[in-house]
């Protein structure tokens, strides 16, 4: 069954803030096998000109799971079967590095839902801001809903 086009344009503000934890950065770095000291050692990060340990470039993907219940993906009205979902595209535009101690929030918008052959592509754009309301990162994510496009007329 195709995805519900009524969702295009809807905005989903996070219902809470997300505090970036030093240990979570370390855990994430461990999971990707990255020993970079700037993810782990505050003094090394400071020596490199940062105020605290730095998050890896893709770390903010964790926000979408932390704020998962504030997402259209879990709304049954979207008709998305998560087991049929694979990731299509992802990009991060970082307006500044993310540091341990940052208190972040985000607003996600459903930018588009379109067919690509038998699949559907759903693109979300998430603006991440800090406690001062300053931009931190713009995240664009496209999910592929496999095989759910409406049948085409022959």
């Amino acid at each position: 069954m195709p995805l519900n086009q009524d969702f295009v344009g809807r905005e989903y503000p996070a219902s809470a803030t997300y505090e970036v934890g030093r240990e979570h950065i370390r855990q994430f770095a461990d999971a990707i096998g990255d020993q970079n000291p700037l993810y782990r050692d505050r003094e090394a990060a400071r020596a490199a000109g940062h105020r605290d340990v730095v998050a890896p470039p893709t770390f903010l993907t964790t926000l979408s799971y932390r704020f998962g219940l504030d997402s259209p993906i879990v709304d049954p009205a979207l008709d998305l079967n998560y087991a049929m979902v694979v990731h299509g595209e992802q990009s991060f535009e970082h307006h500044r590095p993310v540091y341990a101690g940052d208190v972040l929030t985000s607003v996600s918008k459903v930018a588009s839902i379109r067919d690509a052959g038998r699949n559907e592509l759903m693109t979300m754009v998430t603006e991440v801001t800090d406690a001062d309301g300053q931009p931190v990162s713009t995240i664009t994510s496209t999910l592929v809903s496999r095989g759910t496009a409406a049948p085409k007329e022959a």
Partner: protein, 140 residues
């Protein structure tokens, strides 16, 4: 960190190989919060038509990104990073895992001491798992 003045279009970024095994995906599930069953449950993954459990796209993206952050040294120098996931990375339940090979090249020099790096990520016999994989970094 390489200096902007020392880098040319065509400068190669040292390639790396990453071995992806099931336990890496389990760790990434926990660290990222992405517990989609297709990343850990072979029964469901194959039932929905996938070749096997597949790696999180974001895991593959993170591994490819290590080639960039290892080159610049400072992950805070990464201004943007984007990829398209062109093929899944199946991860069998064995001791060998799947080897991901990532290389990079400087594609363009931009103003403000920025350079754009193009990445190539492959598994098996040159199967490209990322397309349009690019990062922009600021160099000293």
């Amino acid at each position: 960190m390489p200096a902007y003045s020392d880098v040319e279009v065509g400068t190669q970024i040292p390639a790396q190989q990453f071995t992806v095994q099931r336990h890496n995906l389990v760790m990434y599930c926990g660290a990222s919060g992405d517990f989609n069953v297709i990343h850990w449950n072979e029964r469901i993954a194959t039932a929905v038509g996938l070749p096997n459990v597949i790696a999180h796209g974001m895991f593959t993206m993170a591994e490819a990104g290590r080639v960039v952050t290892d080159w610049v040294g400072d992950p805070g120098a990464v201004l943007s990073y984007g990829v398209r996931f062109s093929k899944p990375v199946p991860v069998p339940d064995d001791d060998q895992g799947t080897v991901l090979t990532v290389s990079g090249v400087v594609e363009d020099k931009l103003d403000g001491n920025r350079v754009r790096i193009g990445l190539t990520a492959t598994i098996g016999e040159d199967t490209k798992v990322l397309m349009a994989a690019r990062a922009v970094v600021r160099l000293p």
